[in-house]
């Protein structure tokens, strides 16, 4: 019997993790990852680049080296997913047929959705933009820095908060904090989208003298006058603007006619199958799921995609359900961090920031390239490191999450 051809489109966290897990089943499937560049960026590390605490070259990895040897890698941009013919059409030339496809095409910041933002503002969500911000920050001598969220959705929801708190640390180190006003702007009625996390951030911002401007939906930026203008009618002057642009799905999703108006792939929130396309799965930022767009979400989705895909190949119903689990460490400033663990049903209860969680985050950043190729689930790794919970099954991610969440409740 011929092996089923499984193609994974996109070599980010989700795509790489899925492919490496599938590689253990090459007796019945062929696995190919298609990636535009073959360069894997560890995006969470970009947070530190503007401060000079991380070098971009350390965040770039050869995708080939991250992938299991049994996984084939095609480095070529894809123009179109032809779902009728079950093939990918490459931008330059040729096609690649598939029996099953995993869409892991990620998301892109789109500064052009806010007039003036590309010229007047900075962000750190791509390597070039993080380097631009690094230069601007290192030339900064004092004044008003506006940091915030330019629109929804955007990936890694806590990142702007983390940046703001690290900025406070960095300015203090450079003896510029007394000369700087930090204002955090958000379209929301409160500082963060998840209510259970708001008191902690409010307390941190208040203690550090960071002002918050809520209900600030950025309408436009005037780079000449250095003003940012909201839909609500507020105008704020700035000396440096760090505004996270709204994101869209990958252009290939739009081109293929399988996305919604934001370019996100309509995805079953439990089975992770693309709605209306049985042989297609989607993972990570590319989906329209009501969870954070983050590598952490993709990480928890990967075992579900793999399990359901293999079930389907064997002619069975996809039985594994993703419960919306996400776990992420969040910088809290002063060398401390907290952790957010939540799912569709249960919101996070962040424990008090501590150096332990900061150490966990630093460890994860460091060991990421070693963990992903081996398909090591980071939740399991950290639970084991903590010594609190022993993993009990291959699908223990959710079980562990719940135990750890209960532990957070006690520590909060």
């Amino acid at each position: 019997m011929a092996k089923a051809k499984v193609v994974v489109l996109g070599g980010g966290v989700g795509g790489t993790f899925v492919a490496n897990k599938l590689a253990k089943h090459t007796d019945k499937i062929e696995v190919t990852v298609v990636d535009a560049t073959g360069v894997h960026h560890y995006q969470p590390g970009l947070l530190y680049v503007p401060f000079g605490w991380e070098q971009p070259e350390r965040l770039r990895h050869d995708e080939r080296k991250l992938l299991h040897p049994a996984v084939q890698l095609v480095r070529s941009p894809v123009e179109l997913i032809d779902v009728d013919k079950r093939q990918l059409k490459f931008l330059h030339d040729g096609t690649l047929p598939y029996d099953y496809l995993v869409i892991a095409t990620g998301s892109c910041p789109v500064p052009d959705e806010i007039p003036g933002l590309a010229d007047g503002g900075y962000h750190f969500y791509t390597e070039p933009s993080a380097l631009r911000l690094r230069e601007a920050l290192h030339n900064f001598k004092g004044g008003r820095i506006i940091v915030g969220i330019g629109g929804f959705p955007y990936k890694c929801p806590p990142a702007p908060i983390e940046f703001t708190l690290l900025l406070d640390d960095w300015l203090r180190q450079r003896k510029l904090r007394d000369k700087t006003e930090i204002v955090f702007v958000t379209p929301l009625p409160q500082v963060f989208s998840i209510p259970t996390v708001v008191p902690l951030i409010d307390e941190l911002f208040s203690r550090k003298g960071i002002k918050v401007e809520t209900f600030f939906n950025t309408e436009s930026v005037d780079p000449e006058k250095r003003k940012v203008i909201s839909l609500e009618g507020t105008e704020l002057d700035y000396d440096l603007l760090v505004l996270i642009p709204p994101h869209r799905g990958s252009p290939v999703i739009d081109a293929s006619g399988i996305g919604d108006k934001g370019g996100w792939v309509p995805t079953d929130k439990f089975t992770l199958q693309v709605k209306g396309h049985e042989r297609l799965f989607a993972i990570g930022d590319a989906t329209d799921l009501p969870v954070s767009k983050s590598g952490a979400a993709a990480h928890f989705e990967a075992p579900i995609v793999v399990h359901n895909l293999l079930q389907l190949i064997e002619g069975k119903e996809p039985a594994a359900h993703y419960d919306g689990s996400v776990m992420c460490f969040v910088e809290a400033g002063d060398g401390k961090a907290t952790v957010l663990r939540f799912n569709y049903e249960r919101p996070p209860q962040p424990p008090k920031p501590s150096v332990l969680w900061r150490w966990m985050k630093a460890t994860m950043n460091r060991f990421y390239p070693m963990a992903i190729p081996r398909g090591i689930a980071l939740d399991v790794m950290f639970a084991t490191l903590q010594g609190k919970f022993a993993p009990s099954s291959p699908f223990c991610g959710s079980e562990l999450m719940e135990k750890m969440r209960q532990s957070d409740l006690r520590d909060a």
Binding site: F152, S193, F215, L231, E232, G233
Partner: protein, 79 residues
């Protein structure tokens, strides 16, 4: 009040906060002054957030109407 007719309806059922509010604001950007936008939401917080946002932004909060398994939040673009 239930006969108020919306010029644009946004179905944000199933979306978690801040999804419905974001969709409401996005829709208001696209309609002319005086038009009414109706957002369908299953998030209990949307009505409070939408009301507070209208107070802040100067748009008219018309009201909230229960429907089967969701709520209809209506706002008129005032400027």
């Amino acid at each position: 009040m239930t006969e108020v007719k919306a010029d644009k309806i946004v179905d944000a059922r199933g979306a978690q906060c801040p999804g419905p509010l974001v969709e409401l604001i996005r829709a208001l950007k696209e309609v002319p002054v005086g038009a009414i936008v109706e957002v369908w939401t299953q998030e209990p917080r949307t009505k409070e957030d939408a009301k507070a946002w209208c107070q802040r932004s100067g748009h008219e909060f018309i009201g909230v109407f229960p429907a089967e398994g969701y709520e209809r939040v209506l706002v008129r673009k005032a400027k």
